[in-house]
């Protein structure tokens, strides 16, 4: 038998992780991590940046987590703040859930959330009505996801499915007097008043099989959501979508509260508005990042069967710098 010596370290691999040449595997603690993010000893994938993400932007915050049963986080969020032409503040949050049965769902959700947020942050200061801006943002996000289908799949991604990337989208724009939501798919927005004696509400209608059954009067909500087809979505962003139908709605709440913008990884564990209000900490408007972490923790405690993402946007929007007051 001939015996070959091990090859010298690959310079490309070494160059890929210049900052942490000695990164040690979190699974076996014995091997080093290679340039592809796998342990050179036990082969286990290392935690990725998107496994858990948090962001706080003044009065609003968002948290996203891979959950306990999925191998990667295919959800994404983007948040930001803008100043309207009259000088009043606006807060923007977009949450997207990549469709797992499609190719590169993680890229789809990232592209959609970023594109929609960028468009809103550009359109709102120009004076575009928030509801119109939300509509345009969804259309732009859909185009961004469509464009992904034209790119070749990245080298390491040979998914069993070769259909086009796709994702859901839900977003909220909050100004001093207005609350606008927009969505495609089954990600949701809830309204939870600061005064918990007032009724909370769900602000979105799922593009899903269950919602269609209920809307058509064919099944009760309980029956529909118990069905295994309940979560089959009937609308999404992506190249395989038949026809894009962006839904938008505008509200003028008469009291302060918090908008909960989330993927089904959260609302599966707090489906009704009342349940969501129950798990949302009372100080959510004052400590949004903490509250978002609490909500994600609620989903993980429940089993974390899906990726979990939530953004919290307090209403009314407060001027920049006044968020922590």
């Amino acid at each position: 038998m001939r015996k070959h010596d091990p090859e010298p370290p690959d310079p490309r691999t070494a160059a890929a992780t210049p900052d942490q040449p000695q990164a040690v595997c979190v699974a076996c603690r014995a091997g080093r991590v290679d340039g592809d993010g796998y342990c050179e000893h036990c082969g286990h994938a290392q935690p990725r940046e998107r496994d858990h993400m948090e962001q706080e932007s003044g009065p609003l915050a968002a948290v996203s987590d891979r959950g306990l049963r999925h191998h990667r986080n295919e959800d994404a969020f983007a948040v930001g703040r803008a100043t309207l032409p009259d000088g009043s503040p606006a807060a923007v949050a977009i949450v997207c859930d990549g469709v797992s049965s499609a190719t590169r769902p993680d890229e789809a959700s990232l592209a959609a959330s970023r594109t929609a947020t960028e468009l809103l942050l550009a359109a709102l200061p120009r004076g575009t009505h928030p509801q119109q801006a939300m509509h345009e943002a969804i259309v732009a996000a859909a185009q961004a996801v469509d464009a992904l289908a034209e790119e070749p799949a990245s080298a390491r991604e040979h998914a069993p499915h070769h259909n086009a990337p796709a994702c859901t989208l839900v977003g909220a724009v909050v100004t001093p007097g207005l609350l606008v939501v927009g969505w495609v798919g089954d990600s949701r927005a809830y309204w939870v008043p600061a005064d918990r004696s007032a009724p909370p509400a769900r602000l979105t209608e799922d593009d899903s099989w269950a919602a269609q059954m209920v809307a058509a009067g064919l099944m009760s909500e309980a029956q529909a959501y118990a069905d295994e087809r309940a979560h089959a979505i009937t609308g999404w962003l992506g190249a395989d979508a038949y026809e894009l139908e962006p839904h938008t709605a505008s509200f003028e709440p008469d009291r302060p509260g918090v908008v909960v913008v989330c993927t089904d990884g959260l609302w599966n564990y707090a489906e009704t508005a009342e349940e969501m209000a129950e798990v949302l900490p009372p100080d959510a408007a004052a400590r949004p990042l903490h509250a978002a972490r609490v909500l994600v923790g609620h989903a993980l405690d429940g089993g974390g069967h899906d990726n979990v993402t939530v953004a919290l946007v307090p209403f009314p929007a407060v001027p920049h710098g006044a968020g922590s007051a």
């Binding site: 038998m1 001939r2 091990p6 036990c42 891979r66 999925h70 797992s100």
Partner: protein, 449 residues
């Protein structure tokens, strides 16, 4: 590595087709790895191994030895000896200028026909003419000991400092004048030192001997039932040999701790189990020799057994790269690599899906197996067993679009219904047809696009 950056070097690419999703408790991962070399020999001007230099516009340095069976049976009928002479002449005409070559006459011993003296000639107009004139000395008489031919070819080929070493071997009969053990020992000694295509002419040779030689020496095997077809076949073989751009390429497979390689098979263009050819190459890595490459693409089926893991976990099950072992234990990495992954999910739809490439080649490997089994049973007189196996072969060949194999099968069985694999063994089968089916049973087709 300086000359490796030249544009004339064959570029390798690796693609992995797999369903990486496993259910909870799932431990077996299957993947098809497609290796493609482009910009190499047949495109002109290949430079291969970094320590083998060739002038721009020329192919890599190469040496070829043609071994022609000259046993007594080659004169029955005499067209065989004539066909062999014509074929060798055609092959000599196909030699590129500068390629080292020799012609060997094979009987119960090996004789140098050209150039003689334990040397190789360097191809040019003069040496080609001399070689063809020398072919007149190819005459039938004597026995058959193929191992002696291969050992002489090995000695001649190793006398030249070249990148590509190749043999072309023609036989018309069984290896009767040495023991199977002797031939096996010779093949083991020659494996990795040169590659060799093997051909059987007529119908008096042993299919397993000829395919065994080609398999051990990483070449092709085929039948040339009619000696008139030899010249065209020799020309094709030599053209392919001249197109080789890089030799001694090995597939290097790394697996993590606790993961074992269940099997590694080449599945296109032919089925060839490489599992037992592993050469250990450092911690948890093994090299599997693949021989020399021109502009071509080959597919490999890799099956690995991974440790148990929880739903939501992901691991690298195998890393496949291409290397050329160099003298002194060093290796040259050809750059391309493919990752075989395992991801545990509770999504039943994902974990139960079968990758189409994996399914296709699993079928092609079964096709090769059932043809072999069916023909063996037929020879043993087990008509029912042979009918069942060959029926299954007809069904698999039809379903996968392997039209060539389906045609060969139809010469051995009467097909009643291809879809269900219902067949009847033909009462009379031409020996050439049966041998052709057996020799070509391992040929596969690629996935229908």
């Amino acid at each position: 590595m300086a000359n490796f950056s030249k544009s004339s070097v064959p570029r390798f690419s690796v693609e992995v087709y797999q369903n990486e999703y496993l259910p909870e408790g799932g431990r077996e991962i299957n993947a098809i790895v497609t290796v493609t070399a482009t910009g190499g020999g047949t495109a002109g001007g290949a430079v291969t191994a970094p320590d083998q230099y060739a002038a721009p516009g020329q192919g890599p340095s190469a040496a070829v030895v043609i071994m022609v069976d000259c046993s007594g049976s080659m004169d029955y009928p005499p067209t065989k000896m004539r066909g062999a002479r014509d074929a060798t002449a055609a092959a000599v005409d196909t030699l590129r200028d500068g390629v080292h070559f020799a012609v060997v006459a094979g009987t119960h011993q090996a004789g140098e026909i050209y150039p003689g003296g334990g040397r190789l000639a360097v191809a040019d107009a003069t040496t080609r003419a001399q070689a063809k004139a020398a072919l007149r000395r190819l005459g039938a008489g004597g026995g058959t000991a193929i191992g002696t031919w291969l050992r002489l070819a090995d000695r001649l080929l190793s006398s030249a400092d070249v990148a590509i070493r190749h043999g072309i071997l023609l036989t018309d009969g069984r290896n009767e004048h040495e023991s199977p053990e002797d031939l096996r020992a010779t093949l083991q000694a020659c494996a990795g030192r040169f590659t060799c295509d093997a051909r059987g002419v007529g119908t008096d040779w042993d299919v397993k001997e000829v395919t065994g030689i080609a398999s051990a020496l990483l070449g092709t095997a085929d039948i040339v039932a009619d000696p008139a077809g030899l010249a065209a076949d020799f020309t094709r073989m030599m053209e392919t040999a001249m197109g080789k751009g890089v030799a001694d390429v090995a597939l290097r497979v790394w697996t993590p701790v606790g993961t074992t390689l269940t099997f590694l098979k080449q599945v296109a263009p032919t089925v060839e189990d490489l599992t037992d050819r592993r050469i250990e190459a450092g911690p948890r890595a093994g090299d599997y020799p693949t021989g020399s490459w021109g502009d071509e693409s080959r597919d490999y089926h890799l099956c690995v057994r991974v440790p148990v893991a929880h739903v939501g976990q992901e691991m690298l099950a195998a890393r496949v790269s291409l290397v050329v072992p160099r003298t002194g234990g060093a290796v040259q990495n050809l750059g391309a690599q493919g990752l075989v992954r395992a991801v545990w999910t509770d999504d039943m739809a994902a974990s139960t899906a079968i990758n189409p490439q994996v399914a296709h080649y699993t079928g092609q490997a079964e096709l090769a197996r059932v043809i072999q089994q069916g023909l063996d049973l037929r020879k043993a007189g087990d008509i029912d067993g042979a009918t069942a196996k060959l029926g299954r072969a007809v069904q698999l060949a039809g379903a996968s679009g392997n039209a060539d194999t389906a045609k060969l099968l139809a010469k051995v069985v009467d097909v009643v219904d291809a879809a269900t694999g219902t067949v009847r063994l033909k009462a009379k089968v031409a020996e050439a047809d049966e041998m052709t089916l057996e020799t070509r049973s391992t040929k596969t087709v690629r996935v229908k696009k």
